[in-house]
């Protein structure tokens, strides 16, 4: 019998050995496959099992984490949610992440390998590092001034530090509280429904994801092209331009909102925003020259990231001369984001050098040590330095005695350009009021801020006055906030 007992014993041993072999198959060989199965909630639970890192403005977080005690434990919270929503975006357990919450997700959630103390550490321990922080370039008071200035009207503000490309303010209005989307319950999905069906589109980031016809603010680009190409050599020399101007190859006559544009000098035309002069200048420069200058400023660039993507601003290279004339005054199909127009002002203010804008100053561990700096931001010579000097002069004139006087700041040199963009079928829509500008404190070596403001539902006064009337005061408040630092 002993022999058979041994056989039976061997059989039992075989069964238990088979268990171990199979367990090794599941736990070692197949484990990655099972871990990666989308129905496996462990990754999600781990992701929300620790507080998310914060997004900082200055030294203060504008985000937080709330412990809900639920399986998906930590939810995102926002201080001044609507104010910073175009920068932070939302971090929702249901709807994912957007903007900086999305672009910085690796650091914020703790999954970025740079956060781990040793290479591959997270892979070995199978745990996430504590969430790191994303420090923005924003200027709190500039951001607040812009938001306050828009006061709930549809529009956007973008402000840049010209010498560096740091984005100082990025506001879109009307806004929403991203905290309403943080969790995973019924309230979150109803908030999502409501926000998505709101005709005011509060979740649209108008500063970087919406393009507008730039109107007369585009004349800065046209003037730069004309000066750089030598079409205009003296700011005060008459430009030999008719009023009204017949668009080449058509019978359409282009007129002006203001008088005194006939054969005006570039200085006068810029100051009073003469459509006829700039349309003709654009045609004189020609398509290659205009397209080249617009693209040097950043138009037609589909790859701008700050670090989240920016909608491309467009200047159509396939236009006839009549279309070119209209494009040169920011009409036809020329479109720009507020950020793009802030870049235009910044390039002028910075002596013709354009610094790519960026929003993240650095990322840090939760303890505050820097993980990564802002990185290399390319710089581009947009125009001759002499052109920039003369453009600055023109823009300063606009604020001193032209259409942009409401942007003036005592004790500072301010340059600007107003714009009113008509849109809608037969220009029936309420025009968009634009203002682009830069400011330099008296004792400063170079301009410290460049701003672009667009107000969609500007007061019904058509004409240049609305750009100067509605948008310029907002730009002034933003610039003042930066200079006061």
């Amino acid at each position: 019998m002993a022999r058979y007992i041994r056989h039976a014993c061997a059989f039992c041993a075989l069964l238990l050995a088979a268990l171990l072999v199979n367990a090794a198959r599941v736990q070692v060989v197949q484990s990655r496959l099972y871990d990666a199965n989308p129905a496996n909630r462990r990754a999600t639970i781990a992701r929300y099992g620790q507080p998310r890192g914060d997004i900082l403005v200055g030294d203060e977080p504008v985000t937080g984490s709330t412990d809900t005690g639920e399986p998906l434990r930590f939810e995102r919270s926002y201080r001044d949610g609507p104010l910073y929503a175009p920068v932070t975006g939302f971090a929702s357990q249901t709807y994912g992440t957007t903007f900086l919450e999305h672009a910085g997700d690796g650091v914020l959630s703790g999954s970025d390998p740079m956060l781990s103390p040793l290479p591959l550490w997270n892979d070995v321990t199978g745990r996430l590092a504590p969430g790191g922080n994303v420090v923005t370039t924003l200027n709190r008071s500039a951001q607040e001034a812009a938001f306050r200035g828009l006061a709930g009207r549809k529009g956007a503000v973008a402000a840049i530090e010209p010498a560096t490309g740091r984005i100082l303010a990025l506001v879109s209005s009307p806004s929403y509280d991203p905290g309403q989307l943080s969790g995973n319950g019924e309230a979150v999905s109803s908030a999502w429904e409501r926000l998505n069906h709101d005709p005011e589109k509060p979740m649209l980031n108008r500063a970087v994801r919406q393009t507008y016809p730039p109107g007369s603010t585009f004349k800065v680009v046209t003037a730069a092209a004309a000066l750089d190409a030598g079409v205009v050599t003296d700011l005060d020399e008459p430009t030999d331009s008719p009023d009204p101007y017949r668009l080449p190859g058509t019978t359409t006559r282009l007129t002006n909102e203001s008088d005194g544009c006939y054969d005006a000098s570039l200085r006068m035309a810029f100051e009073w925003s003469c459509n006829t002069v700039f349309a003709k200048l654009g045609v004189d420069v020609g398509v290659p020259g205009m397209v080249g200058m617009a693209q040097a400023f950043g138009f037609n660039d589909t790859g701008v990231r700050i670090p989240f993507g920016v909608a491309p601003s467009t200047f159509d290279p396939r236009v006839d001369r009549a279309q070119l004339a209209l494009s040169s005054i920011g009409q036809y199909n020329t479109r720009a984001t507020p950020l793009q127009m802030a870049m235009v002002a910044a390039a002028v203010a910075n002596g013709g050098l354009l610094r790519s804008p960026y929003l993240v100053e650095r990322t840090t561990r939760h303890t505050g040590e820097t993980v990564a700096g802002s990185g290399l931001h390319p710089v581009r010579q947009v125009m001759n330095p002499s052109t920039a000097v003369r453009l600055k002069e023109l823009m300063a004139d606009v604020v001193r005695e032209g259409t942009g006087t409401r942007a003036a700041i005592p004790g500072a040199l301010v340059g600007g350009k107003t714009g009113t963009a008509q849109h809608g079928v037969g220009n029936s829509g309420v025009p968009y009021a634009w203002f682009v500008s830069w400011a330099q404190a008296e004792n400063a070596l170079e301009p410290q801020v460049a701003v672009a403001v667009v107000v969609e539902d500007a007061s019904a006064d058509r004409g240049e006055i609305s750009g100067g009337g509605d948008a310029a005061p907002i730009a002034r408040d933003v610039m003042r906030a930066v200079l006061a630092r």
Partner: protein
């Protein structure tokens, strides 16, 4: 039982009874280690979850320690030659089970199972002590073979009168406690099989007609035991307790093989098992579903209904990897309602990893091997078959449930011995260990040094 040569040798030199060392000190040391290891696990859960040692740690350790100590004293008193590994393994597995259930209780604060499990463990150890103290000689059981089988059949049949729970009629509910009589029945049935086969094994092996290479015994000998087996399996099929019916079948085949030494029985058994499995798998929707789940564990995910229990269990094991997430740091609670009972091993797999799982399987293997070893050392057939039967029960049960939750074989609801939540199971397993202790005591106290222990 004995080969001719041995008989001759025994006749030439009168059996000099050599008693093996008692080794009770080793048993005590191992028990202390088992208790300490369990308390360590309990503390590890608390530290992982709250950062502090749980307040009940001392009480938990004291409770487990006192239980183990009483059991040890009973062994010292009545079974001083017993194998010193059996009791510590039981204590360690039971302690680990309590830790795992306590750990899962943290995820389900409204449905705590650890306190009840502690009560049942106490009852189990009490039964262990009673068996060790009162059952002076395991051979007494031989006399009660038919009482045992009658009791087993009654126990198996009773749940039919009670409503089904989760698709199986295997529970009876009395005063808030639910008891699974099938668990007790398996020990009684093992006693009966061992007694009957011990008495009739020569007739089974050497009488009857020979068909091809198989020696078929007469129906007079084979009839009663086949009838009993068919009855119990039939009842279990009615109750949809497929795990237990598989267990009884395996027990029957193993004991028949060991008693008669006929390989043919294994072939017959396997063919019958395959036939039965195919038939039941085709005809019974409950079983059919289990087989479908086994073949395609992620089918419910693809169908958009989310992962089923088996898929969740596989996710758990995979998440554990080699070293595990650490006690208290896994998410096996996603498995759902059976996580503390049928799927308790998934928690071990996730939080202790393949390393911990291997350790647990090796503990069972050691328990089984020690059972077999006691059987080998004995010289009378009933004790041998009883030890082999009980050890095989453990091995088969571990294989069926662990194989089920790791996707090796179709899932059948069963309790992991000592680890899983379930009073009947804990009590039964302590009874099994008590019987093995008695058998090994007999074996080791009359060791004659001729047959390998």
């Amino acid at each position: 039982m004995t080969k001719a040569g041995t008989t001759v040798a025994a006749a030439q030199a009168p059996a000099a009874v050599v008693r093996l060392p008692r080794r009770r000190g080793i048993e005590l040391t191992l028990i202390v280690l088992a208790v300490l290891l369990s308390v360590y696990g309990y503390c590890a859960v608390g530290i992982a979850r709250t950062g502090t040692v749980p307040p009940g740690a001392a009480g938990y350790g004291a409770g487990l320690g006192v239980l183990a100590l009483w059991a040890h004293l009973a062994v010292r008193l009545r079974a001083p030659y017993a194998d010193p590994l059996l009791l510590p393994i039981g204590v360690l597995l039971n302690g680990l089970g309590l830790v795992l259930i306590y750990r899962l209780d943290l995820e389900t604060p409204n449905n705590r199972a650890a306190p009840a499990q502690l009560v049942w463990s106490t009852l189990g150890v009490a039964l262990f002590i009673v068996v060790v103290l009162l059952l002076r000689d395991h051979r007494v059981l031989q006399r009660y073979a038919y009482v045992c089988v009658a009791a087993a059949l009654v126990l198996l049949a009773v749940p039919i009168l009670f409503p089904a729970v989760n698709g199986a009629r295997i529970w009876i509910r009395v005063a808030g406690f639910s008891i699974q009589p099938g668990e007790f029945a398996k020990v009684l049935l093992a006693v009966f099989f061992a007694a009957y086969l011990a008495a009739n094994r020569n007739a089974l092996a050497y009488t009857g007609r020979r068909l091809w290479r198989l020696q078929f015994p007469t129906w007079r000998v084979l009839g009663p035991i086949v009838t009993i087996w068919l009855l119990s399996v039939g009842v279990l099929v009615l109750e949809r307790d497929l795990g237990t019916s598989l267990l009884f079948f395996g027990l029957f085949v193993v004991l028949l093989y060991v008693a008669t030494g006929r390989t043919g029985w294994i072939l017959v058994g396997l063919s019958l098992a395959v036939l039965g499995a195919v038939a039941v798998g085709r005809l019974e929707p409950h079983v059919n579903q289990r087989i479908e789940d086994w073949l395609h564990p992620f089918a419910t995910i693809d169908a958009g209904r989310g992962p089923n229990q088996l898929a969740q269990s596989l996710f758990s094991f995979a998440a554990g990897g080699v070293l595990g997430t650490g006690l208290g740091r896994g998410h096996s609670v996603l498995i759902g309602f059976a996580v503390k009972s049928d799927f308790i091993l998934a928690t071990a797999g996730e939080e202790l990893g393949l390393a911990g799982l291997a350790a647990i399987v090796l503990l069972y293997a050691l328990l089984v091997e020690r059972g077999y070893r006691a059987g080998l050392a004995l010289r009378e057939p009933f004790g041998r078959l009883l030890a082999v039967g009980l050890a095989s029960l453990l091995a088969l049960q571990v294989f069926v449930i662990a194989g089920g939750v790791t996707g090796l074989i179709p899932l059948t609801g069963m309790a992991m011995p000592f680890l899983a939540q379930g009073g009947s199971s804990v009590v039964t397993n302590w009874a099994i260990v008590a019987l093995l202790i008695q058998v090994s005591d007999s074996a080791r106290s009359q060791y004659d040094g001729r047959e390998a222990p």
